[in-house]
Point group: C2
Chain length 300, copies 2
């Protein structure tokens, strides 16, 4: 197979784009997908101050690499969850990456904040992935607001987004459906959130890291359930194989035609958040999720 | 495994209902699912005159058997499509079934109406399944209106409905999503359409026919593509296996929470049909689909 762009030998085949690329043209392909996402969805501009949530995995590092190369004003934020084995590996990859590419990095240590995930898991009898997600979202948002960043970027890829969309569709979660997309504008005390990799599959970001020689971490969380999301990804991989381009058309179709239906319902039925009585974080209850977690930890 | 209801030996296991049944209790289970569909969705009453579209397959015959047993005012309508091999087998099953159960049957022969499907297929270069569907819907509706039936019942089962819903979701067909469900009320020259088997899977209706000793036809249409629908059914069979009850909760969730979003959009963006200039059938164009097919056949 020859490169669609320069006719050299292709090393990556992309049936979803009816294309194949040699290494340099593949890097260009990824760059253009990211640029298209940023431009089409008006994610951010060169005037914005962008903080990137860096987990140390392929997606977040690929995102930082690409936005740095494009010249955006970025910095990195890593949350050290204090999970044995996986957290030190993740942090190490993030730190080495940021040193290598001269990216300003901040690290928040959950242990120091009294929220080490093994503690949370031991003391609170609820699904730990959902608690951990709450904590991370809280501190990403808080850090951005406290430090003058007006955009929070995450490395969610097309497979993440499709699995989440499918999960929301399966249970017809109207509020979540009205809320899903590569751009969540700043609102009600939440910073703007963006997902510039939403047009790229896991296969594509992994390949990108390989070709760009980005040394990413692969230390799966020992607590990770995520079984149904992993299963939905497999399911859409099969579907993509039979109907190349389906993942992207499903997701883009949702953004163009599906979401607006739910956004309206949401506006009619939704509750506006108000500040948490303890910390001021926006919440639909009296106390926000993280203050409730802290309270439960104190009581246990 | 013992019967959930009477503790005799079970012959059918239904993980989606966390139940198993012996033959008599299984028939009762199916009866109750049909009654629940009729009652919950207000499909029809004992005052309605119901025409059942009988293809000769397991679903339509199971439906007729059940509605007859429950004492509804029913008659059958079969459309003979004149497809070699499959049509004579289908018609034969329908005729024998209606004789055996004393059900009034009408047969419309497409050949006599100048619309034999092999002719249509030969002369019109469009996907034949979509043309055939148009023709059947047209004559089911017309027959009901011309003959004083106010309800048209079809044997669509849960798998049919879930595959169609998934297909519409994949491409976010707002108009079709606003329009899908077990009850389409009488409107704009279309008779009321109902799907009383929507709570039962293919496995369940096939088992029902086996236990009720209903001799149904299995002569797949030689032109049938339907590849993607078949694939979506397989895909949801896998999902159902991992998450028992998922098909029904996906579909019921759509009816309860999803559809209303699209119904609204549809009302805002939709076009009201007006009568076809040739035959009076409701259509959004000048001529209805079947008159256009006839016109194309004349010109070929």
């Amino acid at each position: 197979m020859k490169c669609t762009r320069c006719r050299e030998k292709a090393v990556v085949a992309l049936p979803s784009h009816t294309a194949g690329f040699c290494p340099p043209c593949y890097l260009l392909f990824v760059e253009r997908q990211v640029q298209k996402a940023i431009k089409d969805k008006k994610l951010f501009s060169f005037d914005d101050r962008i903080i990137i949530a860096l987990s140390g995995g392929k997606d977040s590092l690929a995102l930082a690499w690409q936005l740095k190369k494009l010249g955006y004003d970025i910095a990195g934020l890593h949350i050290d969850l204090a999970i044995p084995q996986s957290s030190p590996i993740a942090r190490d990859h993030v730190e080495r990456f940021c040193r290598a590419y001269d990216i300003n990095l901040s690290v928040l240590e959950m242990e120091k904040l009294g929220l080490s995930i093994p503690e949370v898991r031991k003391k609170i009898k609820r699904p730990v992935c959902s608690l951990c997600g709450k904590i991370k979202r809280y501190y990403f948002n808080k850090f951005a607001l406290d430090n003058g960043f007006n955009v929070l970027a995450t490395g969610h890829n097309l497979d993440d987004e499709v699995a989440r969309l499918f999960s929301n569709v399966l249970s017809w979660e109207s509020a979540h459906l009205g809320d899903q997309g590569p751009l969540l504008p700043e609102e009600n005390g939440f910073t703007r959130k963006v997902k510039p990799l939403y047009r790229l599959s896991e296969f594509e970001t992994a390949n990108f890291c390989f070709i760009a020689e980005i040394d990413y971490g692969f230390a799966p969380c020992p607590y990770s359930g995520g079984a149904s999301f992993t299963y939905y990804k497999t399911l859409f991989d099969e579907l993509e194989h039979k109907q190349p381009g389906r993942k992207l058309s499903f997701y883009e179709g949702f953004l163009k035609r599906g979401r607006k239906a739910f956004t309206r319902l949401d506006l009619e039925e939704g509750v506006k958040p108000s500040p948490c009585k303890s910390c001021g974080y926006p919440t639909s209850e009296e106390s926000c999720g993280v203050c409730r977690i802290k309270h439960m930890l104190e009581q246990s």
